[in-house]
């Protein structure tokens, strides 16, 4: 028998996180929680936050996986609403992603409701029958209509983190980071140092040995987590890990953003993100309890700065109560893509330092959360096991970035808009990832299958693709089912449709508006049970 174990040296004793935005603090919470669960008292986590570098904090949308994470970390749902201005999000509503037909705007919902398998008959029915009046989402779920009515996904009597339907949040990312700071330092004993990184020292093997701070403090650690945002100070700058640019696939590289204060008592808060397509990109519109966060993500190769501003203003104007001169705008430049390795030597990048794509499907916080969870699971106890763990980690993270890029690209590819080269070029095959083209070739004549999504670490699954493909009206061609519509199937379909209708009546009857529920939660909180 051979002994495959290597001599274990250098147990992991100290982890330093550099950067204190959503990425830094969410990672600190996940790691802190993990150490606490393991009863590990020999490791410490230090987070270095620069008091001078502002948090970018535009990531405001999330997807349902965040609900389970926050619950696991022991955060109170009512605190998100009371301290981070959170509102409930149940869908992304895509507006004008198809050409206007006789001046009618097209829209569809990518909802968070995952219908159970008995809806399969309805999916087949919708796909094979072009004469159905219902939109795809309305055929299998009530959530699109719940969103259109600005209703909340739960009741004041529903326990925290549970809903009548799946949901996520919109929140103020800076305030969320504040909430996570308090949680990580008080519940998980994470040490918080407010200073700036000024120098990095390396060991002979290229591992980071220590960092020096502006306050002259030098700190060594076994693992360094780079949450320094776009600058990617450790992984990108110090370790020189290459950035893989994906602009040839996703063209957007600028955003112009603003915030408009609202009065939640007067303004209705949508319970979905609005994503409205424009000539060289799209506009996000997110309602928090005290303000709307709005931004135009566009491609600087396809429109001028002036034109982008004009397009943005014409979107804003109808809903502005103050003078347009009083609205403050921020310009952000970004590069779409990711670092070739998220983990190199003893440094892991999480957040913008790891990669970025436009926030069309709220993948920013999603990837932070996923990358932090994966790190907790894969982080070895000994430093000389890092290389193997990093290999696994990098494979998963890269796979996830590629799938996110596929999924975002799909939204553009399906569009029939032709008002700008931006849209025309998005449909050219040489801008398409091979993996997406292959899937679309298959889905040209069949419904996507669960087997098309075989990894256990997919970011988007079959149902997400169905909502986008069929929301955009991309039915498979020449699809003939040999179901022969037996009386039995027909009975079943009628039965399911009846249940959906009953559920809708119940929901419309019981659910309150998003703002009413938010204001109630601010006052009364939510029960744990």
């Amino acid at each position: 028998m051979t002994d495959t174990s290597m001599p274990l040296t250098n147990t992991v004793k100290r982890i330093i996180i550099v950067g204190g935005g959503t990425a830094g603090w969410l990672t600190a919470c996940h790691l802190g929680h993990k150490l606490q669960q393991d009863g590990n008292l020999n490791q410490e986590i230090i987070l270095i936050e620069s008091p001078n570098i502002p948090t970018i904090g535009v990531g405001e949308g999330t997807v349902p996986s965040i609900v389970a994470s926050l619950n696991k970390l022991g955060i109170k749902e009512a605190d998100l609403i009371q301290c981070a201005d959170a509102t409930f999000k149940q869908s992304v509503k895509f507006v004008d992603w198809k050409k206007k037909e006789s001046n009618e705007s097209h829209y569809y919902h990518h909802v968070f409701d995952h219908p159970n398998s008995d809806k399969e008959a309805l999916i087949r029915q919708w796909v094979s029958n072009k004469n159905i009046n219902n939109s795809f989402v309305d055929m299998i779920s009530n959530q699109g209509q719940v969103c259109d009515q600005h209703l909340a996904p739960k009741l004041i009597t529903t326990p925290e983190f549970k809903g009548a339907m799946g949901y996520a949040y919109h929140f103020d990312a800076i305030k969320l980071a504040g909430l996570l700071t308090k949680h990580a330092t008080s519940k998980f004993n994470v040490k918080h140092i407010k200073s700036e990184l000024v120098d990095t020292k390396f060991s002979d093997n290229g591992y980071i040995r220590s960092i020096t701070l502006k306050n002259k403090q030098a700190l060594d650690a076994d693992l360094f987590i780079d949450c320094t945002g776009f600058s990617s100070l450790l992984l990108g700058e110090k370790l020189q890990v290459e950035f893989i640019d994906k602009q040839s696939i996703l063209f957007t590289d600028r955003a112009i953003t603003t915030q408009i204060p609202t009065n939640s008592l007067l303004n209705s808060i949508p319970s979905c993100t609005l994503a409205t397509a424009k000539s060289a990109g799209w506009i996000w519109d997110i309602g928090l309890s005290n303000r709307r966060g709005i931004g135009y993500v566009y491609s600087s190769s396809h429109t001028s700065k002036q034109q982008a501003q004009d397009d943005f203003l014409s979107y804003l104007r109808p809903s502005l109560s103050q003078k347009i001169e009083d609205v403050e705008f921020r310009e952000i430049e970004f590069k779409v893509g990711y670092r070739k390795f998220a983990w190199s030597k003893n440094c892991v990048a999480i957040g913008l330092s790891q990669g970025f794509v436009e926030p069309l499907e709220a993948t920013g916080i999603l990837m932070i959360d996923d990358a932090a969870k994966a790190l907790c699971e894969l982080l070895p106890t000994h430093v000389n096991q890092y290389e193997i763990a990093a290999k696994k980690y990098n494979k998963i993270i890269r796979y996830q970035w590629d799938r996110i890029i596929d999924f975002i690209k799909l939204h553009y590819y399906l569009s029939d808009r032709d008002d700008n080269d931006f849209w025309r070029q998005n449909k050219q095959h040489d801008t398409m990832p091979e993996s997406l083209l292959e899937m679309l070739t298959l889905w040209d004549t069949r419904i996507p299958s669960e087997y098309d999504f075989s990894s256990r670490h997919e970011v988007f699954y079959r149902i997400n693709y169905l909502y986008i493909l069929y929301g955009m009206g991309k039915r498979p061609k020449n699809l003939v089912f040999n179901d022969k519509q037996s009386a039995e199937i027909e009975r079943k379909i009628i039965e399911i449709e009846k249940n959906l209708l009953l559920q809708r009546e119940y929901l419309f009857n019981q659910l309150e508006s998003n703002n009413l529920l938010i204001s109630k939660i601010k006052k009364y909180g939510l029960q744990r049970i």
Binding site: L155, I156, T157, T158, Y506, K520, K523, Y524, G525, L526, Q527, R528, I529
Partner: protein
């Protein structure tokens, strides 16, 4: 869906004053027609023991606020009150929430901690002929009205203690949601949205937590609730007699 819910009354409460209400008299009465349709009635904690001798005490969430409330359960389905037979109340104890329906204290918005007395002046219980006078000839509040105010203040105090009771139960994770399924020879009733005290959890509570409950004087209420659950069967047999 059959979840018991506390009903809000639409009747308007008005502030009482001697100028407008000097001649008004009040006849205490129970509005049987309303009570007949009340499946549950809210309780405060010092009512648990008298209620527990004849009726189940369970916990529900207030539809409007999500806060926990203690209630006496009088029926197995919505709008059913099995404790009323031939228009008469069948139980020894009548909860204060039923008796107090005509008067309510409202906090003075201009002076915190001070309460103003209001009543449902439009109700036929108030008139100029029969019953107890609210004010005396000289315009002073009558002893009857004073007694009502005292009762209402003590009720408010009991409501606060009841809320503290729930804070402790939740902190110690003693509440558990439970669907009640009550079988009678004719039919099975399912009641959702009900919470009970988890007896297993109570019995395995750390000593320091049990002492906490004892010191807060919550143990009698907890055991009253546990004993009262047996009366769910009493309700079943009453339903069977219908």
């Amino acid at each position: 869906m059959n979840s018991p819910s506390i009903k809000l009354s639409n009747n308007q409460f008005v502030y009482l004053n001697k100028q407008s209400h000097g001649n008004i008299r009040f006849t205490p009465q129970i509005n049987i027609d309303v009570l007949k349709k009340e499946q549950i009635v809210p309780l405060v904690i010092n009512e648990f023991i008298p209620v527990a001798t004849q009726n189940p005490i369970v916990f529900v969430k207030d539809n409007q606020t999500g806060q926990f409330r203690a209630v006496a359960l009088y029926g197995l389905k919505s709008e059913q009150n099995l404790m009323i037979k031939n228009d008469t109340w069948q139980s020894i104890y009548l909860p204060k929430a039923v008796r107090n329906k005509y008067f309510k204290l409202i906090e003075n918005t201009e002076s915190a901690g001070e309460y103003l007395l209001t009543c449902r002046i439009d109700d036929p219980a108030f008139n100029q002929k029969d019953g107890e006078p609210l004010f005396e000839q000289n315009g002073k509040e009558s002893p009857f009205l004073k007694k009502i105010q005292e009762d209402l203040l003590s009720y408010l105090h009991q409501q606060e203690i009841t809320q503290h009771f729930f804070t402790l139960l939740l902190e110690l994770e003693l509440l558990t949601p439970q669907s009640l399924s009550v079988e009678t020879p004719q039919k099975t009733y399912n009641i959702d949205g009900v919470y009970l005290i988890d007896e297993n959890r109570l019995n395995t509570l750390a000593d320091k937590d049990t002492i906490k409950l004892k010191q807060a004087n919550m143990l009698p209420a907890i055991y009253a609730h546990i004993v009262s659950k047996a009366h769910i069967l009493t309700l079943a047999s009453r339903a069977n007699e219908l």
